[in-house]
Subunit: 373 residues, 2 copies
């Protein structure tokens, strides 16, 4: 690897790059090829940015910021027109070809063996034969997504939806229109495009879209500048905020504490911006309260009945090696999971995975035994 | 100050004491007398422990732990009988005499000028003339408590309720019975004593007490070993958990994040332990949700209407100097507050204090302006 060259393409000096190698840069030697990952955002380089051993760089997908007052933020942020796309609820991957092999990078910059197998099934190889430097940014969603299992999308397993495209060694992306054009050209699914709205009326239209998405259990929207000159923004449904809280409180001792506050505060601002009646506000308060209380009660009652607090997910793989590799990948990501024996199914295997929620499991047992909080 | 002597009474070595002086021990020179405060619990010495310049030590009142499953904890923790007292909602002070002057120490080990004036009004001086080494541990409560204003107690201003007694240079306390006897002897109010229960039936009785207290907006109970050989435990009403959340979400950007989770988790365990029906659980979820959503909505709407987010409290002082001193005390405690001109009232002064809630105020304005979370 030519450090001077890599540093130049990262937009930093060679000595800065060397300094970062001792702090925010981590090496990952598996699966091949070997790569360097940026564990934190630094010097304007996104978290999850990857430098492969051949010197090629794949920048992390920029974090999308969230307004709490939609109309005010749109007015302030966009120039005239707002393009609105669905924000899907799964895990974010970057699919690309390296040394002639397709791989899927996670948000953190690891090659995920399962996401890679899925990408190879979903994304035609010839895209990268014609365009070897493309990086397809998309969401993997569905009930067989082992990170975020959701059965609200039209798939029984897992699917890949393109939401942006970039190129190796390049920080900028193609933006909403070119992405949808290329998705069509390549025969890839893309996240739903809800239209372009003038900034004056966009908030009202987005409110209707978000309410409808919420009813379907879907997450929300990403707002983009049609000319791709401004950073996108995101906005989510109350249903999603509450659903996030449900997961968090089901595993109340395993999730980061700041998770809760942001979800709750979103509800407060949405209720004010949408100028809700006392009755609507009460209904929102009930949903909020239920999404906190009920999953926690369920967890405590399960433990009381002697169950272990676990999360069961399922993946479908073509190759047994993928399942074995994914087991190792989860372990290195700090997730403790038990993989059951793969069950042959169609031309592949179904693998049930039991994720252990150790901290909540043990804490709940201790509290039930009369220990102190 | 004889360091060797002080170290011995603290139960540590002299060199350890010297080491702590550079880390967890802070000096406070005002109001007189000069003292050293333990800012953190360390080497078995409670946070808030104070060493006066004459070498006398007042230990911090031990933190009372909280079970989430009441029956299991009582069974596990107590030996046979549980004495139950009210846990009052105000601020905890230690009242004592130093160099012949009565002072009130806050939890953190500061002399609070306002609490000191209140203590001098409430506590007969002759107690300390007869017993110069006593330390009266109590709660200051009422609507004119500038830290926690509550109008649920039988006072229009602020009152002092004894809950335990200790002595200078002594870590142990007198416990429930001796405290109530001495309160009667001294003519002091003490926190309500609800009785002694056998450990088998205590949880059921305490549940009834806590539900009743909750209906009155009161906080909960402290459970004590009648023989004072075991550490006390505390348990609070759902109403108090929700009321804490209300305050926290009214000032959502100023409060510590971990505050929320503990309150919510208490609700989950109480609902399970009390084996609530679906309907009761729904009512609890609604209270929980409303205590999060409604105060936040109120804050956002106030800001939208151009109000500043502040908290107005009121104190009543005999001496104008106390008000000035208390202003300085709040400032050194990191609280920004505006004191209005004292209004003469009876034989003293009323002072309205506007506490500025800067972070929530500014954050709410920024979010209303369309900034990102």
């Amino acid at each position: 690897m030519n450090l001077a060259n890599v540093a130049q393409r990262l937009g930093i000096t060679e000595s800065r790059l060397q300094g970062l190698q001792e702090t925010v840069i981590r090496e990952s030697a598996w699966p091949e090829p070997r790569l360097l990952r940026f564990e934190k955002e630094t010097s304007g380089i996104e978290v999850g940015t990857v430098v492969f051993e051949n010197g090629e760089i794949v920048f992390g997908y920029p974090k999308i910021r969230r307004p709490l007052m939609l109309a005010a933020a749109i007015k302030r942020h966009f120039s005239e027109i707002v393009a609105v796309e669905e924000k899907m609820n799964g895990h974010n991957v970057r699919v690309l070809s390296i040394n002639g092999e397709m791989v899927a990078l996670t948000r953190g910059g690891f090659i995920c063996p399962y996401s890679t197998e899925v990408a190879r099934r979903m994304v035609p190889e010839d895209i990268f034969e014609k365009h070897p430097s493309l990086v397809l940014c998309g969401e993997m969603v569905g009930p067989e997504n082992p990170y975020v299992a959701k059965d609200i999308y039209p798939t029984d397993s897992i699917d890949f939806y393109l939401f942006d495209i970039t190129e190796k060694n390049c920080k900028s992306t193609f933006g909403v229109h070119r992405t949808h054009e290329m998705a069509e050209e390549f025969g890839l699914k893309a996240t739903a495009f809800f239209g372009e709205f003038h900034k004056e009326s966009a908030a009202q239209r987005i409110k209707q879209i978000v309410i409808k998405l919420g009813r379907q259990g879907r997450e929300g929207v990403v707002m983009k500048d049609p000319d791709n000159k401004l950073a996108p923004l995101k906005y989510t449904s109350s249903k999603t905020n509450c659903s996030d809280l449900s997961v968090a409180f089901r595993y109340y001792n395993d999730y980061a504490l700041d998770f809760f506050v942001s979800r709750a505060v979103r509800e407060g601002f949405q209720s004010v911006e949408w100028n809700e009646s006392a009755e609507e506000r009460k209904a929102r308060a009930l949903s909020l309260g239920e999404s906190i209380l009920m999953p926690m009660v369920d967890t405590i009652e399960r433990k009381l009945q002697g169950e272990n607090i676990v999360q069961v997910v399922q993946i479908r793989v073509k190759s047994l090696q993928t399942a074995r590799d994914f087991e190792y990948h989860l372990r290195r990501s700090g997730i403790r999971a038990i993989f059951e024996s793969p069950q042959p199914d169609d031309d592949g295997y179904l693998v049930r995975i039991t994720k252990l929620i150790m901290s909540t499991n043990d804490k709940t047992q201790a509290l039930l035994d009369g220990e102190m909080w």
